[in-house]
């Protein structure tokens, strides 16, 4: 008997994973808001605005890490340009936030006024509509990923060559966005947002809603990814990773499988970027810098690629370490990050999740 899709999606995670997810969502949607709003600031259980912003930001990163893992851990394709898709999603939503600043919708964003522009460029048309912005958040990364991926995968560009080209792609985009004439605020990017859907963007309630939405998006992405990798599509994908020529000779065209997961991964990054911008309050071209994209790969490597929980753990561990380091020893952060990457690559090829499994097995064998 064929099982309905809903049942198959539900069974793509085991009971323990569903319980963990329920606990996570309970914390994000109920416990954190109550602790933030109901408790006075001097209470030890009060969750500060800083903590909410930080955790919301890291959840966005975790979403990007899962997207990265789909293409790298399962597809065997290392992208060092995923920061571009994240930034495109952020810019697409940032345009809408810029239009929400002014009281009059016809008013130009401030940076255009400084450039002495008299009217909105054509690509800003419709940017005052939330629906159009939400569409662009997904469509823009998808389009760029499709066009780039189609030519790269059709030419059978693989391995380190592919990685280098993705680095070049995000770097080129960064240079483009740095220019004032491009029409996206130059090196300052977009900032000073005031409202989203008419609500004040710094209001505690708005922050909590954005925080909750990010948690929901992360959970939904995890379920979707689990379903994807457990479907036959996922098995073909890992088969392409392990023995691409065999896959071709049994009649699959790897192009469409790679392109499919590549576009899905880019769209997920776009969504993460759109959730990131209103919480952090700024988007500028530095999000497209090559270093940012490499960092994404490090999160996934540290957590454990080829597992779905690994990238989330990696994103949290590395970014929490980063926020501590950049306050305590700002000049050593990059050294530490490099060291971490080397240690993980040499000693923990399966990342923290692999380490955990190893320890559990040893314990199991000893018992």
């Amino acid at each position: 008997m064929r099982k309905p899709l809903v049942v198959r999606i539900l069974s793509s995670l085991d009971t323990r994973a569903w319980i963990a997810m329920a606990v996570f969502l309970g914390l994000a949607l109920a416990v954190v808001p109550v602790l933030h709003l109901a408790l006075p600031e001097e209470s030890p259980f009060h969750v500060s605005t800083y903590a909410i912003t930080l955790l919301g930001k890291i959840m966005c990163y975790a979403l990007v890490a899962v997207a990265m893992d789909l293409i790298w851990g399962y597809g065997g394709i290392l992208s060092l340009g995923h920061g571009l898709f994240f930034a495109l999603g952020g810019y697409a939503f940032g345009m809408y936030l810029m239009r929400q600043i002014g009281h009059d919708a016809a008013e130009l964003p401030a940076f255009m006024v400084f450039l002495d522009w008299k009217e909105l460029p054509w690509f800003w048309l419709g940017s005052d509509s939330f629906g159009w912005a939400a569409f662009l958040v997904m469509a823009l990364p998808a389009l760029v990923a499709f066009v780039f991926g189609y030519f790269a995968f059709r030419s059978r560009i693989k391995g380190v060559y592919f990685s280098i080209i993705t680095q070049a792609l995000t770097y080129a985009a960064m240079l483009l966005f740095f220019r004032n004439e491009t029409g996206f605020g130059g090196n300052n990017g977009f900032t000073d947002f005031k409202r989203v859907l008419g609500y004040g963007i710094t209001a505690p309630e708005t922050r909590l809603v954005l925080f909750g939405l990010t948690a929901l998006a992360l959970a939904a992405t995890l379920v979707f990814a689990a379903w994807l990798v457990k479907s036959k599509f996922g098995r073909v994908l890992t088969a392409i990773r392990d023995a691409e020529s065999r896959v071709m000779f049994i009649g699959y065209n790897p192009l469409w499988y790679k392109l499919g997961i590549w576009v899905v991964s880019a769209v997920l990054c776009g969504i993460a970027g759109a959730l990131y911008v209103p919480q952090v309050g700024i988007i500028n071209p530095s999000e497209m810098s090559p270093g940012n994209s490499i960092e994404i790969a490090i999160w996934v490597a540290v957590g454990g690629r080829g597992t779905l929980i690994g990238p989330i753990i990696g994103a949290f561990v590395v970014n929490l370490a980063k926020s501590w380091f950049t306050v305590s020893f700002p000049e050593y952060w990059l050294f530490f990050l490099g060291l971490l990457f080397i240690v993980v690559t040499l000693m923990l090829p399966q990342g923290l999740v692999g380490l955990w499994k190893k320890l559990m097995n040893k314990e199991g064998a000893a018992a």
Partner: protein
Amino acid sequence: MNAAISHSLEGRPEGSHGAEQMGHLVTGGLDLSHGVALYLEDITVSFDGFRALNQLNLTIDAGELRCIIGPNGAGKTTMMDVITGKTRPDAGKAFFGQTIDLTRLTEPEIAHAGIGRKFQKPTIFERHTVFENLELAMKTDKRVWTSLFAWLSGEARDRIADTLRLIRLDKEADRPAGLLSHGQKQWLEIGMLLMQEPRLLLLDEPVAGMTDDETMRTAELFVSLAGKHSLVVVEHDMAFVEKLGGKVTVLHEGSVLAEGDLATVQNDQRVIEVYLGR
């Protein structure tokens, strides 16, 4: 009325909405009306001036079992690369049946047309289970959209179970294929080939690393497949070639040196020279 409509919708082949992805996939069906399964004419392939294949001519009849032998560098693997679309010939014709021009199709298209290939080094999906290896190879719609929502029917499970028994791996079905012995991996790859339901099987050294017992069982399997399928077997193991019994083609420096039954070929003066002369 409504029930009838929904039934007719469900009855539609699942891949129909994904057709535009690989619209060029459907080739004219395989035409074996003239009794020829594979036809190679004057195939030439050069790599940096080195002629891996030099005006190679070869015809495989429908249902035939053909062995190809030849010293290293004779062009056996390059010939398989040309037939399966991995390498494009510089000159010459390659047809599958009467109508399918192999020089114009991609690897997956050639696989769909009905040519299965076993590599010299067993190439299986080591991290997938034995069962999944066969499932992925099974003849079906292999486009992305179909794979996303694919499920295994009871019929499909039975077919996989049959193949598992045939290749004697039914007890290993749920183990990762990487844990199999070398001989078992060879069998698994042969099993994957059979799941594709090809009309022409290209087998590059299929019994390398097998025990004598496994080798003889493989020979029996191939002989039983001939007739319904055409087989091209590249092999160095003369006992195995003898057991298969079909016509033998000797390749040397990219073209055919001799052709005939094994005894004739073995007594051919030129063949002896090539193998022993230098």
